[in-house]
């Protein structure tokens, strides 16, 4: 529906503007920037700072009005240049400065402060205020991440509005009245929100600052680049900032399509782990006689190649296997897919941890976030956005507030439940008939139905979700899918061909000439591969940024696996897996390499680079290329540009992919690129909305000349010849992977199905390496229904043990919200994941601990 336009006169200029546009934005559009503090285009206007006053015509002549609050109306006249306006604006600035401390030189906001800037532009320059200034204790921590300096606060209501209106967690609010009004938490209740960092970003002064960033750097020392957050598959757009080869800060960029400028704290403060060199894998290592020793890249790559050759020699191609986590970027994933499928020729490839089946249903019907939020109904399947794709939770809240009809399908209540029109239980007994029940609950009307699918219950094999998803798509014809699958580039890894049953681009056409004859990988997912490895059928297991502890193996099990086969770990962080590996290859991590990722709506997003790779780390595609070289096949990949050329040649999702697509859109193109149309005018950057993002350079995949492989690694540096080995083979049409039976049935009396909910703060190796966030991991907790607890002869608060592949001891809590067939476990340690038994839906036994 086209917006109704009205005609208004802005400073004498007659313009057409969509009805309802705030005057301040209409003025922005004609290049007249009105000073502002409280206004933020992503929140409701409150019109309190009174900085944006202009003269507006009304029934009783011109009057001074807040341009942020008042919307344009037909025939309205606005004057911004009169003496009256200037006086009012400089008056407000003077009032704001009256009580503002003069500590700009030591203030974190100094140099990028809207108050400083606007005082300079609109203030009188000289203070007439000779009275005593307001005094408060300063600064006070309002959480482990946020400091509050009340003296600098200008009461713009942005942080409090954010907490209440955007995050729905009013844990900070004004307190007091009038001149004594101040921001406050309640008593000792911390401002403990996954989204707390946003308030530091939108604070127009230095009142709210991020503890990890305090005194770290001055804005003018920072370099910054546009990038995409590396934590989840939302793909939030960020400016990543660095100083002296250390990441100092991450700010959300206002992407209309994706994150509306917001970030979650896991993403924002994730830079602390990148900086933690102590936790990083810095040099290649190899084990000799059980002892891990540093080796050169050349020797490490050669060792891997030798191991691969040996395995193939004794067990054929299928004795080499690849498991990835979905964290490698698109370029790396592509190179590894090529290495595995084409150079080595193994069919055992799962770079997406079993999520390929969901992804294959998703890709054909991918819905954008905007489409999902504007749908007639959104079906949330096995997903808790707040824990999996946190910023989507914010956008969902807003959409539900605007009337989005939400149907949730989960095993237990989530943060979606209060917003859902219907909640349908996902239980092992009813998996089969679920789709029909969901379809029956759809509201009447036109418009898309979109399914939001995630991996909330980690103890439930993604294949089960995949099965339900297929059923749903069949039951709701035309349904589209927005994916919230885990890991930042799981969708990109899938589309790069690093998943069972797909080839790059999820292409169905001919295999391009740069490939030989890719193996058919549709046989096993990571669980099957691990079973094969445990059975001694795998000679070399290549692990791509994948710590096996995260998928449920204990360190002992990983150790044992390492004795059965050679583990090769391409990794950025030390973990039980790197320690057990025969060869470890240091991987350049987020912020250290350019490239691209694909988010859960199929949007291709750029990754920027701000650091030299730590130690001897290299991008993943370089590692692949080195190993390929040692296998006697250089893969023809010498630059990222080569990868992009190949992607384009594969077609499918990547048909038409060109480096230029990044410059033709602010938000990144939606895949399949061929279907996507660039559109949307660039957003005017509001320096007051996001102070600190100004000189951001837009980086993407590395197409710079000379960005080739290490000369030392390729030996002579001679350009390899492109081999033409086209086979013209048709790619298999459907993804076939292990199917899990849909009728899971009732467990035995003392057995239960495990619910292991994904959490933002999961105690994996990365979080452990993050000094800013490690303390947010919650303690072990076992929740069961009161009835089950009673059957056990235990009561609330008793210690119990959960018995699965491992035994976990913890305090049990009776909770009505947990169905009787389930045991819900939350963990402080990664050990809880070891309860996952890797087949279908994990089953556990609950036992009472006496004494």
């Amino acid at each position: 529906m086209p917006d109704e336009m009205v005609s208004v006169t802005l400073d004498g200029q007659v313009v057409q503007v969509p009805k309802g546009t705030p005057i301040i934005e209409a003025l922005d559009q004609i290049g007249v920037h009105i000073p502002r503090f409280c206004y933020h285009s992503r929140m409701k206007a409150v019109g309190v700072c009174r900085m944006c006053l202009v003269e507006v015509s009304g029934p009783r002549g011109f009057s001074i009005q807040p341009s942020c609050y008042l919307a344009v109306a037909e025939g309205m006249e606005v004057v911004t240049t009169s003496e009256k306006v200037k006086k009012a604006q400089s008056g407000v600035i003077e009032f704001l400065l009256a009580n503002h401390p003069l500590d700009c030189p030591v203030c974190d906001k100094g140099g990028e402060c809207p108050l400083q800037d606007q005082a300079f532009a609109h203030g009188a320059g000289e203070t007439r205020y000779v009275e005593e200034k307001r005094h408060y204790a300063k600064p006070i921590p309002i959480s482990r991440l946020i400091n509050l300096d009340r003296e600098r606060c200008i009461q713009c209501d942005r942080c409090t509005r954010f907490a209440d209106e955007v995050a729905g967690e009013a844990l900070i609010d004004f307190r007091g009245r009038g001149n004594a009004i101040r921001i406050s938490t309640f008593s000792s209740v911390e401002f403990d929100s996954y989204f707390s960092g946003n308030v530091t970003q939108i604070c127009p002064v230095g009142a709210l600052t991020a503890t990890p960033y305090r005194f770290k750097a001055r804005p003018w020392d920072l370099t910054q680049a546009a990038s995409t957050c590396g934590w989840c598959s939302m793909g939030c757009q960020v400016s990543v900032q660095a100083s002296q080869n250390e990441l100092t800060r991450m700010l959300g960029i206002d992407s209309d399509a994706v994150n509306h400028s917001w970030l979650c704290d896991r993403g924002r403060f994730g830079i602390a782990e990148v900086n933690n060199r102590d936790a990083r894998v810095l040099v290649p290592t190899a084990k000799a006689n059980g002892i891990r020793g540093e080796v050169s890249w050349a020797s490490a790559a050669a060792t891997v190649a030798r191991l691969v050759k040996q395995a193939r020699a004794s067990g054929g191609n299928a004795s080499v296997a690849v498991i990835g986590s979905g964290r490698l970027n698109l370029e790396d994933s592509y190179a590894w897919a090529k290495l595995a499928l084409d150079v080595v020729g193994t069919p055992l490839v799962d770079g997406v941890l079993g999520q390929g089946e969901v992804a294959s249903t998703w890709f054909e019907r991918a819905a954008s976030i905007d489409q999902a939020l504007a749908a007639r109904a959104l079906i949330a399947l096995n997903v808790e956005p707040k824990e999996e794709v946190p910023v989507l939770h914010l956008r969902l809240r807003e959409a539900v507030g605007n009337g989005l009809h939400l149907i949730e399908v989960n095993s237990t209540a989530t943060s979606l439940s209060p917003m859902a029109a219907t909640s349908i239980q996902l239980s092992p007994e009813g998996v089969g008939g679920l789709a029909e029940a969901v379809a029956a609950s759809l509201p009447d009307g036109d418009g898309d139905v979109v399914i939001l699918v995630g991996g909330r219950n980690r103890a439930m094999d993604p294949a089960i979700t995949g099965g339900i998803l297929r059923d749903l798509v069949a039951a709701v014809p035309g349904a589209r899918i927005l994916s919230a699958l885990g890991a930042s580039n799981v969708h990109g890894a899938f589309l790069a061909g690093l998943a069972p049953g797909v080839l790059p681009g999820a292409a169905r056409g001919a295999v391009p000439s740069t490939w030989r004859s890719p193996a058919d990988s549709g046989r096993a997912n990571y669980a099957g591969i691990l079973r094969a490895a445990a059975a001694g059928e795998v000679g070399v297991l290549l692990l791509l940024d994948c710590d096996l502890e995260e998928v449920g193996l204990t360190p002992e099990a990983i150790e044992a696996l390492g004795e059965r086969c050679a583990l090769v770990s391409l990794a950025s962080y030390e973990s039980a897996t790197t320690r057990a590996a025969a060869v470890t290859l240091p991987l350049a991590t987020w912020g250290e390499a350019r490239g691209s990722v694909v988010n859960g709506e199929g949007r291709m997003l750029r990754l920027g680079e701000q650091l030299e790779p730590a130690g001897l780390s290299k991008p993943g595609w370089v590692a692949a290329s080195l190993i390929a070289g040692d296998l006697g096949d250089d893969m023809s990949i010498l630059t990222a540009g080569d990868i992009w050329a190949e992607l384009k040649a594969w077609g499918g999702a990547f048909a038409g992919v060109e480096p230029s697509i990044f410059s033709s859109t602010l938000d990144g193109p939606l895949l399949p690129v061929a279907r996507w149309e660039a559109g949307g005018a660039p957003r005017a950057l509001d320096p007051v909305a996001t102070p600190g993002i100004s000189s951001v350079s837009r980086q993407g995949p590395d197409f710079r000349a000379g960005a080739v492989l290490d000369p030392y690694a390729v030996g002579t540096g001679a350009a390899p010849s492109a081999k033409v080995l086209a086979s013209g083979r048709e790619v298999p049409a459907a993804v076939a992977s292990e199917r899990v039976p849909m009728e899971l049935g009732v467990p035995g009396e003392d057995e239960a199905w495990l619910i292991l909910s994904r959490r933002v703060y999961e105690a994996d190796a990365r979080l452990a390496a993050n000094p800013a966030l490690a303390s947010f991991v919650r303690g072990d907790r076992v929740r069961v229904s009161p009835a089950r607890l009673a059957r056990l002869g235990a009561s609330d608060g008793d210690r119990v043990q959960v018995v699965g592949p491992v035994v976990l001891q913890a305090v049990a809590h009776a909770d009505d919200a947990i169905p009787d067939w389930a045991v819900a476990v939350e963990g402080r340690t990664i050990a809880v994941t070891h309860l996952i038994d890797g087949a279908g839906w994990s089953r556990v036994r609950l036992e009472r601990l006496d004494g």
Partner: protein
């Protein structure tokens, strides 16, 4: 002529017995049993009953502006906190049944789903009396379900305030009633009659306004209109205070007496202390521009006072004689508004306190000559032009209530200011 104060001559005016013995609920019966809601509203429109809360807007017209919606509310504003205003205090303590009757009539006329009487929290006795009156009304079938068998039902809830002047401002009052800080809402769009309590259309009327309704229903709008003159019809309660011999609340027919009568008249204020002379008076509560002896012969009428550059406001007249220090008076008024600023708008929050500090310095003898221009300029930044009625850089007129006192004092008593500055002390202390 007495309308709202008619019952006050009886010491037990607050009791149900006295109320019923003096015609109580006759109007309510008449309205509910013999008149349609439209007919009641029409009488009020005819009466030209001006709102008694301060802004002086015609009640009938306001009711007519109520947005058509399924749900609507009535809120009676009894937050009375404007300095020197104490007429509602009298009404709620001394004739609470009349208030409840009036509120029920108003609820009927506008078709309210619920009526709330928001009473200033400090009125402990008033809260007891009004609650008693509400309880009485339920008991005798004058409130609740199917009132007097008329088929009309409505409840009244009594809501205490908690000590914040700004909650007298109608949109702040609604915020407060919704459980929030009393932050005024921006008009437009938040005119209560359009978007009020819980977002539904709401009529907010002052206690005295509502207390006039029984008389109007009983005697007709024409009878009310025949009192007073011009737009100022009926009678009004005037609260007289300050340096006058007999402060108090006086009900007088509008426009029929002058300020001189009110301050000096035998039936009213009875003049000033011996050998004192009048220096200034404030005609409509602390926020209205000051008047001086030359204004004494203005009649007590809304338009007459407005034409002379001030307002009748809440009907409170504050008298200052030559023993008092005008600098100190202006400072005390500024200090009040600074303390009562809700804190939303920068000019009011920061400017109010700033002006308070400067005035305090001057009064204490630490003033500088340049402070006078600074004061006027700060006033100008809160209320551009320092004109009347005020232009404003703020959401509500609390902030702009500071400049009238400051500018009046500086323009009329500049010498006093200079004396403070020169002598380094208050010459009146």
């Amino acid at each position: 002529m007495r309308i709202v104060g008619a019952r006050l001559e009886h010491a037990d005016s607050h009791t149900l017995e006295r109320f019923l013995a003096t015609g109580g609920n006759n109007a309510l019966r008449k309205a509910l049993l013999e008149m349609t809601p439209e007919a009641v509203a029409a009488e009020v429109l005819t009466a030209n009953l001006l709102g008694r809360g301060g802004a002086g807007f015609e009640a009938g017209r306001k009711w007519g502006m109520l947005r058509k919606a399924k749900r609507r509310y009535l809120v009676v504003n009894g937050d009375e906190s404007e300095p020197a205003t104490f007429k509602d205090h009298l009404l709620v303590e001394r004739d609470p049944h009349q208030l409840v009757e009036g509120a029920t009539i108003a609820a009927y006329a506008i078709g309210a789903s619920l009526a709330v009487i928001y009473l200033r929290g400090e009125f402990a006795l008033g809260l007891e009396r009004v609650q008693e009156a509400i309880n009485d009304a339920y008991r005798i079938g004058a409130l609740g379900r199917d009132i007097f068998g008329s088929g009309f039902s409505v409840d009244i809830v009594l809501q205490p305030g908690a000590g914040a002047y700004i909650c007298g401002e109608e949109t702040a009052l609604l915020e407060s009633l919704e459980g929030n800080r009393g932050f005024p809402r921006i008009k437009p769009p938040y005119f209560p009659a359009v978007i009020g309590l819980y977002g539904d259309p709401t009529i907010v009327n002052n206690v005295e306004t509502v207390s006039n309704l029984p008389w109007i229903v009983e005697n007709g709008g024409e009878a009310f209109k025949s009192l007073g003159s011009g737009r100022s019809t009926g009678t009004r309660l005037f609260a007289l205070s300050g340096q006058v011999n007999r402060p108090g609340v006086y009900e007088v027919e509008m426009t029929k007496i002058t300020f001189r009568d009110l301050i000096f008249g035998e039936e009213f204020g009875q003049g000033l202390a011996p050998s004192r002379s009048l220096t200034a008076f404030i005609p409509g509560g602390a926020s209205s521009p000051w008047f001086f002896p030359e204004h004494l012969d203005l009649p007590l009428g809304q338009d007459e006072v407005a034409k002379a550059g001030s307002m009748l406001g809440s009907g409170s007249v504050i008298v200052m004689d030559d023993s008092s220090c005008p600098v100190r008076s202006a400072w005390r008024i500024a200090r009040f508004f600074a303390r009562e600023s809700c804190g939303q708008c920068t000019p009011c929050r920061e400017g109010g306190t700033w002006i308070d500090r400067i005035m305090e310095r001057i009064e204490r003898g630490n003033g500088r000559e340049e402070d006078l221009d600074l004061l006027l300029d700060l006033c100008d930044n809160i209320s551009p032009g320092v004109v009347w009625p005020p232009a404003q850089t703020t959401i509500c007129v609390l902030g702009p209530s500071i400049p009238p006192a400051i500018s009046a004092a500086i323009s009329r008593f500049r010498d006093d200011f200079l004396l403070h500055i020169k002598e380094g002390r208050c010459p009146h202390a």
